[in-house]
Symmetry: C3
Subunit: 202 residues, 3 copies
């Protein structure tokens, strides 16, 4: 099992846990859960023309999500206790998917800017689609907690470390940690991006 | 004309009738109608790397939808009378698209779980996208009337019957009927899935 | 640089300016801006199986959008003054993307109806996705200002002129102007399509 497969498996598990905890709040069905878990990676595969899609090539991934969903539905007390930690699997899944997406784009020989963008798409669009399905304003698209910026920054760091020939595992861990910590900090202190904001303050 | 082509034509007609009746309520434009009619099948074709897309390969399908839309706009009284039966073309279109989507995935040699998932995607995502466009909470993603579950169950039955070497027409009819009846029953008695629900009741 | 590349560059610039002015109102992040600028063309490329996607094949396009976004964020006073002209870059971007999308479909040898439909998808879906992300009712899908109809009409005219062997530049300019003027007229006088409307008035 390659490093990339392990990262992707962990990313799917983290995102599914996030999706299940979110479903507790939002009354999502299993299909919503699949969309949150696989949406970002599916877009990346379509954009990079990678066929078959990662969850068709590795059908154990949707099965893992299904098993987690069944576990979640029979253990509601556990879910209720874990719900306050919603942000942790979200940030971790984002970090893992960002690194996996960036690596796929590097493998496809894309220029670095596209690699980082593809990492950000993979890391964030599952959540965006989930938000859209839940009819919230997608938080990614508002300047506040700067979802996409965290993912994009981690992807950029990972591209840089890969160019510097760091060992894959080291680069991956650093990339995931950058996204994870940046995301937690952004949510905690409600960081905002200066770009494309309301110019009322001028 | 193959069995699959006939099923797909009927599916497009049923979904377009549903879309036109929905448009009466929701003020959708013709493009919204196309999205409801072709959204699920387009996603399936993209996911299975089937090119050209089914409505590009069979351009009579969008023309059929266009003709139905024009008929609908010149016969508003008929629409008003039919609107109460909104659920019937919805359930029928879902059944037909589910069987068609599952068969395409079987043709592509996908494992059975993926085939059933692809059937559910084909059967339901047109409606999901339509709901999103109409800015409703997508009913597929809420535990109530269990849209995706009906489609997934019918797809599973169809995969099983195909493995048992039943004649294609028989398997297709049974698959469509399972989705259709399950869907009507689920809406009538407001059936709910135990999985991933609000754990308030514990 | 081919005529098509120039049209596409201008389309991306016009749509990005629209997206930035929209972002002033809607608090979109840079990723929302990318989605508005590249959504329609990405769908077209996926639907026509054109790989790599146009913004991966021409990575200067996302860089142009990024530079415009940075300029917009440091010049908020300019944005505030330009905001009332929101409709102009919107209509212009729609016209340019419509012609580009139609030409790609003609190059792919699609039948004329599909070419015009693909032009309308390319011209309008960026805005639709942007509207969905901003949680508005997508204006494309309501009978009023008939977004998709303007785009579809211009695409049809462009297909016709191309069949008549008009020089590419002439056909392109006429196609863009048809979409642009039709769009401005439709918004100004709030034109409505008779097809698929509320039949209350009968």
């Amino acid at each position: 099992m390659s490093l990339l497969s392990v990262i992707e498996l962990l990313a799917v598990i983290a995102t599914a846990v996030y999706g299940i905890l979110l479903a507790v709040r939002k009354e999502m069905d299993v299909v919503g859960l699949f969309t949150v878990s696989f949406g970002g990676g599916t877009l990346r595969d379509l954009f990079l023309d990678r066929q078959p899609l990662f969850w068709i090539a590795h059908p154990h991934l949707p099965l893992v999500v299904l098993v987690l969903a069944i576990l979640g539905s029979v253990l509601p007390r556990v879910l209720n206790k874990l719900e306050r930690f919603l942000l942790l699997p979200d940030a971790l899944g984002m970090g893992l998917f960002t690194v996996a997406g960036t690596q796929y784009a590097l493998d496809a020989g894309s220029p670095w800017f596209i690699c980082a963008l593809m990492g950000a798409i993979t890391g964030t669009f599952g959540g965006v689609i989930g938000d859209m399905l839940c009819n919230d304003i997608p938080s990614l698209f508002r300047p506040a907690p700067l979802n996409a910026t965290c993912s994009f920054a981690g992807a950029g760091v990972y591209v840089l470390l890969s160019q510097l020939q760091l060992p894959g595992l080291t680069a991956a861990i650093i990339g995931v940690v950058v996204v994870f910590v940046f995301r937690l900090v952004a949510v905690r202190w409600n960081l905002q991006l200066p770009a494309v904001r309301l110019p009322d303050a001028d």
